[in-house]
């Protein structure tokens, strides 16, 4: 008798959640509202049942998220009775930083990376759960489950603590922190299958529907509000699209798809020929751009 792949992954993630709560003083779950966050949240609920979640949930709001994401977030918070903290980089807002006016690199740095650091410092969180997976991107494939961050939130890939068996070292000195990735060993296919198996609610943007999009540099961008400046000759077109990842709407590419149910998405995911992060504009700035962002403290 032995457990299936999904059962093993679930147990490993639950183990990690419990270990952090037992050892760290002030953990937080980083909730990005996407499908990985949905799974992360479900696993956290499972880990502590019948107790309530013993930590708050943090959303770093760049103010450029899809409207449907924010609606979905507030619905989940109400249904699950979560302790939600929303943090936005106020200086960034005052300077009107945005992806259209400042480009994806500056926007992501100010509204996401800096904002996240601000929030972690403000609330003195010593451990932050994130939904990153090792199959997403090359530099993530080398990151530990318990990933140590210096006082300035830096990740040192050449000096990571070795991680053996299921024994995790979460010890830190004052001011330092750890990022914890309970989904490290999940793949995108695992995530979808788990969502299906567990009937986990997700943002409707993941399902194909007719949405207004424009095509820029081969990427389909959804016109989610009137802040999006249209270039001459550009006209939003209704296309049947869905999203494989969700983030800031100007930086998230849609894919044309007919998949409007979870089984269809699972089938499409297994057969897909475009890797998940290609839809994210921020990764394409330079070859090793994710690694660079991580060094700077981006998740």
């Amino acid at each position: 008798m032995s457990l299936t792949n999904l059962a093993k992954l679930e147990a490993e993630s639950i183990h990690i959640f419990r270990e952090v709560v037992a050892e760290c003083e002030n953990p937080v779950l980083l909730y990005s509202i996407g499908k990985d966050s949905a799974v992360l949240l479900r696993l956290a609920m499972k880990a502590f049942h019948p107790s309530k979640l013993p930590f708050p949930v943090l959303h770093v709001d760049t103010t450029w998220k899809f409207k449907e994401m924010i609606e979905f977030r507030d619905k989940m918070v109400a249904e699950l009775n979560l302790n939600l903290i929303v943090h936005t980089n106020k200086e960034g807002v005052e300077q009107d930083i945005g992806p259209f006016s400042h480009g994806s690199a500056v926007h992501t740095d100010v509204m996401k990376t800096q904002a996240l650091k601000q929030a972690l410092d403000k609330y003195k969180f010593d451990a932050a759960f994130g939904g990153a997976r090792r199959d997403e991107e090359k530099s993530r494939s080398k990151e530990r489950m318990f990933s140590f961050r210096s006082e300035s939130h830096r990740w040192d890939p050449k000096n990571q603590r070795p991680e053996m068996w299921s024994i995790y070292n979460g010890r830190i000195n004052k001011g330092e922190s750890i990022r914890v990735f309970p989904l490290s060993n999940w793949t995108e296919a695992d995530i979808w299958q788990y969502i299906y198996q567990e009937d986990i609610p997700i943002v409707p943007l993941y399902f194909a529907a007719d949405r207004p999009v424009v095509e820029r540099d081969g990427i389909l961008i959804m016109v989610d509000d009137d802040r999006m400046p249209l270039e001459s000759g550009e006209k939003p077109e209704l296309k049947r699209v869905r999203f494989r990842t969700l983030g800031c709407y100007p930086l998230t590419g849609a894919i044309e798809s007919e998949a409007d149910s979870l089984p269809d998405i699972i089938q499409e995911t297994i057969l897909t020929k475009t890797s998940e992060r290609q839809g994210r504009v921020i990764d394409q700035d330079s070859t090793a751009s994710m690694e660079k962002k991580k060094l700077e403290g981006y998740f």
Binding site: N5, H15, H49, K142, R161, M164, Q267
Partner: protein, 642 residues
């Protein structure tokens, strides 16, 4: 081929069946090990590529990278797929453990890609610790190398039972059968000697794809499985469920007064309501009332599941305790022998205090004896006093409190531990418990009726250790002497332990290596503790260069009994004073391991008093220390009344 596997899968089943297949997949974790040029990354790249886990955009960037920095001319360099960090891409080597994923119809695979470089033994052991199977790569042109032996030994040490011996680059030896067979025979005779028996040897070419997914036409003399066939069918996780029930408690789950559960992961065995259990180390017994989960109570749970147990009786259990089958319990000990692999730049020093973490209990630990080192290349046993990075040794360890354990060979989860440096919090070692040592049970504390406070009371004083630390020539002994005179004048009972003097007696067997320095301080700390128990004020004047040992000394005493006094003088100042002519000799190289010259001094972070000797005379320094003692209540009330 793999493309066919997946597309057939999709075409032949209806969607429901397809999803069911996906859900029922099993998981296999394996690691690949080989020397630098054995083609590990190429093999993994090939597995990912052939199992269609490479997406279009990755392929496009792979083709571009291959032309730019690849080593295969205009062909695709699969190694570039897996060499993740940009530093590695430039150096062309894999520097850390990377995890890769691919999937077939029946199994999902997690691959630990671990480097073959000598200095990275620790990474290989890391990958092996979670692996069900190991692929050991050999370059057909080179045969069994020293590195092959080392990797195989680590695989066996970490208890990975299944091995695929992938004899690679067969294309470069014309797919010659005798080359393959000679290497296989050579390897098997070695593997036998280290207890690896479950070996499947396969001739492959990772570059050309021979015998990876499809049988290679050029090795028609080979009748065995391809690499993928072996991975798909090998039986692993050799029935953890059949072993005795072990459940280390991670977290006490207590949402309200009506519910008290113990959350954790079942490390081995199985459990059902009604089963009799014992909690270790206490030995308290009860029976399981409920197995609680988010998805409802379970009738039964097995190894690997994360659950919450509710017991029939209110017995005292906390995090780190182990709930076990009542009739088949783990051992409990505070001393054991273990294989220890050192993973830090700072060497392992016997007597130095570390933190030891097992499944989920953290206790203090010291290595009481390094019995021998093991040369992972030759397996020879060498004598030694410390372990350097990537060195392996057999040690006795002594713990601050007892833990429940099983031998690693019987139960990996219950016999494994890591060592953590209490100051830096780095993970510095990994260990596998061999067996418990019984001595601890036989040495009982003598019950003592007259205690420390009684002894102190009769002297009308507050016992304490005044620990003077600083470079040689900083003025420690001079200042300590003056302070002792002042204390004596106030009718305090004192004693001075001076580094030079103690080294003529108690510690005359010790030299000046790091190992000996640690032992030197440990003895002094223990001696000071006995004297504090006797009610004395102890003035310790030792260079004591390492933070870790000063902290150990502090931790031995009770709160407030340890006063760290940093006699701060620059190395230049001390060298110019040079009262014993030692600096001159050290600078000429006549004295080795001299603190400040060729041995480090770590400035205190926790000093209670810092004396700046560049600007303060010894008398003023003594004033400063006496003032501190007065203000902090170390000088007895009685003196002031007189």
């Amino acid at each position: 081929m793999a493309n066919e596997i997946l597309s057939t899968e999709v075409a032949n089943y209806d969607l429901d069946q397809f999803i069911k297949t996906q859900e029922e997949k099993s998981l296999l974790r394996f690691l690949t090990c080989g020397s630098v040029d054995d083609g590990k990354s190429t093999l993994i790249g090939r597995l990912l590529f052939d199992s269609q886990q490479i997406y279009d955009d990755q392929l496009a960037s792979l083709e571009a990278d291959s032309k730019k920095i690849g080593t295969q001319g205009s062909d695709i360099d699969f190694a570039l797929l897996v060499d993740g960090l940009s530093a590695e891409r430039e150096q062309g080597i894999t520097i850390d453990v990377a995890y890769r994923f691919f999937s077939t119809e029946t199994r999902k695979y997690i691959v630990a890609d671990t480097p073959g470089h000598e200095q990275y033994t620790r990474n290989m052991a890391t990958g092996a610790s979670t692996a069900d199977l190991a692929i050991i790569l050999i370059d057909a042109r080179k045969g069994v190398l020293t590195q092959t032996r080392r990797h195989s030994y680590i695989v066996s040490l970490l208890g990975v039972k299944n091995v695929i011996l992938a004899i690679n680059k067969m294309d470069l030896v014309d797919y010659a059968q005798d080359v393959f067979e000679n290497i296989e025979a050579d390897y098997r005779s070695f593997a036998d000697s280290i207890g690896l028996t479950d070996i499947c040897a396969i001739p492959i070419s990772a570059l050309a794809g021979d015998n990876i997914f499809a049988a290679g036409g050029k090795t028609d003399w080979y009748q065995g499985p391809t690499l993928m066939q072996q991975l798909e069918t090998v039986e692993v996780s050799a029935d953890e469920t059949a072993a005795a029930f072990r459940f280390p408690v991670q977290w006490v789950n207590r949402p309200n007064l009506d519910f008290r559960g113990f959350s954790g992961t079942i490390m081995s065995g199985q459990i059902a309501p009604g089963d009799a259990i014992a909690a270790l180390p206490s030995g308290n017994t009860s029976t399981v009332k409920r197995i609680s989960t988010f998805d409802g109570d379970l009738d039964q749970a097995i190894a690997g599941q994360a659950v919450t147990l509710v017991l029939e009786d209110e017995i005292d259990i906390s995090r780190g305790d182990v709930i076990a089958a009542a009739n088949d319990r783990p051992e409990v000990t505070d001393q054991f022998m273990a294989h220890l692999l050192w993973m830090a730049d700072q060497p392992m020093l016997p007597s130095r205090p570390y933190l030891l973490k097992t499944a989920n209990k953290t206790v203090s630990a010291t290595i009481t004896a390094l019995k021998h080192k093991i040369d992972v290349n030759t397996l020879a046993h060498d004598a030694g006093t410390s372990l350097d990075l990537n060195e392996l040794g057999v040690c006795n360890l002594s713990l601050g409190e007892p833990i429940a354990f099983d031998a690693y060979s019987a139960n990996k989860s219950m016999g494994s531990f890591i060592l953590i440096d209490g100051l830096t919090n780095d993970t510095v070692g990994m260990g596998m418990i061999d067996f418990g040592l019984r001595r601890a049970e036989n040495i009982h504390w003598q019950p003592i009726n007259i205690n420390k406070s009684a002894r102190a009371r009769i002297k009308s004083q507050t016992p304490a250790v005044l620990w003077f630390t600083g470079l040689s020539g900083s003025g420690k002994s001079t200042i300590a002497n003056i302070v002792e005179q002042r204390l004596y004048a106030q009718r305090n009972h004192t004693i001075i332990l001076d580094g030079d003097n103690v080294r003529h007696g108690l510690n005359k067997d010790l030299g000046f290596t790091d190992t000996d320095r640690v032992e030197n301080i440990r003895r002094i700390a223990e001696t000071s503790k006995l004297m504090v128990d006797a009610g004395l004020m102890v003035l310790v004047s030792f260079i004591s260069p390492f933070r870790a040992e000063r902290r150990m000394a502090r931790d031995l005493m009770e709160e407030g009994e340890f006063v760290e006094i940093f006699i701060d003088a620059s190395i230049e100042l001390c060298a110019s004073r040079d009262p014993k002519g030692l600096y001159e000799k050290a600078q000429k190289g006549e004295i080795k391991n001299f603190t400040g010259i060729d041995s480090p001094y770590e400035n205190p972070e926790l000093a209670d008093i810092t004396i700046d000797t560049a600007n303060v005379t010894p008398d003023k320094a003594a004033d400063q220390i006496m003032l501190y003692l007065e203000e902090n209540g170390y000088l007895s009330e009685l003196d002031y009344q007189i």
